[in-house]
Symmetry: C2
């Protein structure tokens, strides 16, 4: 898979795969939505308003869905899964709210970012509430192993957010450091959703490990693709300006690759282009052009494919099962998704 | 106790009581410091630096101390208490960091506020880390009742922070709404520290309830006095500008009382004085003068005394015990403290 394949190919396979996955998860998504809605009520109406804004606007519900599917793959058949599953959406939303404050973001998912509507103080504090609430909801499940996995994940995530901030504007970050950042900021929570699904579903230790590994590899691939979409995506589909990371001077793998593999003149030029505080759009187009030509986007996509492969292999201990099929399809979808 | 008693009286009793308490808790404070230090290390050095700044600069360690004393009063004699006790200092520090961002604070405890040194993004994220870490540390104690009490408290706290933000600049807030805010922002965590101390120490249900009530009442009194110190305190002792709340237009009980009890002209004048975005120091002196004359500070202190009384009464189910004496002294100290 490289950047010269016509995009029409991806569009079609993307739409087919999306539809095939969607018909099998529709009911789960509905249960997730209902549960989110039910738990967003608060005696403080402002919390519900900001919460509904960040959680009601087109999220993929990937994390709660993975938790539900992981539990089911381990044999769970009840309907108490949704209330635990949404913990992962609450944690994700809390982290998005704080990210928007940290990045001073203007848009998210085709909507004004929460901080532009309600200011940083309110957004920081509602983020804190969603986080606390998610721990409280988890405690209700009365399982210390779940709490252990969850709090290990959130602590690593928080460290990862700080790491990412420290590396902001750092064009010297190498591939390994970048992978450490995306592991913590994305893979760790997705992995925890799958692992905790396995624990909740009564999975054996090897099933718990396998689903944790599936989620970890899927999470890395998901973030790698997210970072390429910042170069290649469509603003209307993405719901945020393409080139957001680039304009903030964030170095992700496509650029890291271009800097590593370009000759001295090319490196110098790219660093110059990145050096401004605000990168104007003509400069963004030139950066995108140079990074694409370097093969950086294709490289990141190939690396994502190899992580998807590892995610799928992690599931080989499970026999054929409709839920396993969905998880395998979801892994493929991560690569060909356009939003 | 009213505002016409010479301050020298308080100074002396304050110093004596402080010394008497301190000699009996010195070793516990040392254990708390050592444990905080040990747990502030992180693979991300920036986290340790900001963490040490917010936790190393003159905090009273009231919350961890109350947890340790509560456990001891219920019969605990080991030394695994300190590592659980510091959870309450981590949570408190996390909340202080986010408060400083929310309030755009310039100073805390005679030091530049963290946000002025490292910027809002880093401070928000280190706050998130300290919070996650405190949950992780608690999970290590493997007791779901402790986690239940703790996560209920932090969720109420987070709601309280939002409530306080909504009421910022609201001069119409009444005493009941104000008490609701300080319950959530201060009393709930102090109460949880005492209650969890009781659970950890193997206390019976009525002991757990009694210590929770002690902490709750102590917490309300503590915040009431904090709010009067914004009017009466000494800038060098407090470590932050006197009149901080006033200058931010925050209405606390002394002002609420003055507005409630003043005649129409006095109310109008006070609201005018409060109406500016930035309140200059001559205006601050006039507000302080008017609020003091209204009896608002004496009223808040009297209310604090009645909460301290309730705190002490809550301990009556415990027989005489050196630890009980310390808790009773701490309750008295809350009233006469000057910082």
């Amino acid at each position: 898979m490289n950047s010269s394949i016509p995009t029409g190919f991806f569009t079609q396979s993307h739409e087919n795969l999306k539809e095939r996955i969607y018909t099998r998860i529709r009911q789960d998504l509905q249960r997730i939505e209902a549960e989110i809605d039910r738990n967003l009520s608060s005696s403080v109406p402002f919390i519900s308003i900001v919460g509904r804004h960040i959680m009601g606007s087109g999220g993929k519900r990937l994390r709660p869905l993975l938790m539900i599917l992981s539990a089911r793959l381990c044999g769970y058949q009840g309907n108490h899964d949704a209330a635990l599953a949404i913990v992962f959406e609450f944690l994700h939303a809390s982290s998005l709210l704080h990210d928007d404050v940290v990045d001073n973001a203007e848009f998210r998912r085709n909507q004004p970012a929460a901080n532009t509507l309600w200011g940083n103080p309110g957004v920081v504090l509602v983020g804190d509430f969603l986080y606390s609430k998610s721990i409280l909801m988890t405690v209700g499940y009365n399982d210390i192993r779940i709490l252990q996995a969850l709090s290990e994940a959130t602590t690593k995530m928080a460290e990862g957010e700080v790491l990412q901030l420290i590396h902001a504007d750092n064009l010297e970050i190498d591939e390994q450091e970048y992978l450490e950042v995306i592991t913590r900021k994305t893979a760790v929570l997705i992995s925890a959703a799958c692992q905790i699904g396995a624990i909740f579903g009564g999975g054996k230790p090897d099933q718990e490990r396998a689903l944790g590994a599936y989620g970890f590899n899927l999470g890395i691939a998901f973030q790698l693709i997210d970072d390429t979409l910042d170069y290649t995506g469509d603003v209307n589909e993405l719901g945020k300006p393409v080139g957001n990371d680039i304009q903030q001077g964030k170095a992700t793998l496509p650029l890291i690759y271009a800097l590593r593999n370009g000759n001295a003149a090319e490196k110098k030029k790219l660093k110059e282009l990145f050096s401004a505080d605000q990168i104007p759009s003509e400069r963004f187009h030139e950066i995108r052009e140079r990074v694409t030509r370097s093969g950086g986007i294709a490289y990141a996509r190939e690396l994502a494919s190899s992580y998807v492969q590892s995610a799928k292999e992690a599931l080989r201990i499970f026999p054929l099962h409709p839920t396993k099929e969905i998880l395998l399809d979801l892994a493929d979808y991560v690569i060909c998704r356009r939003t």
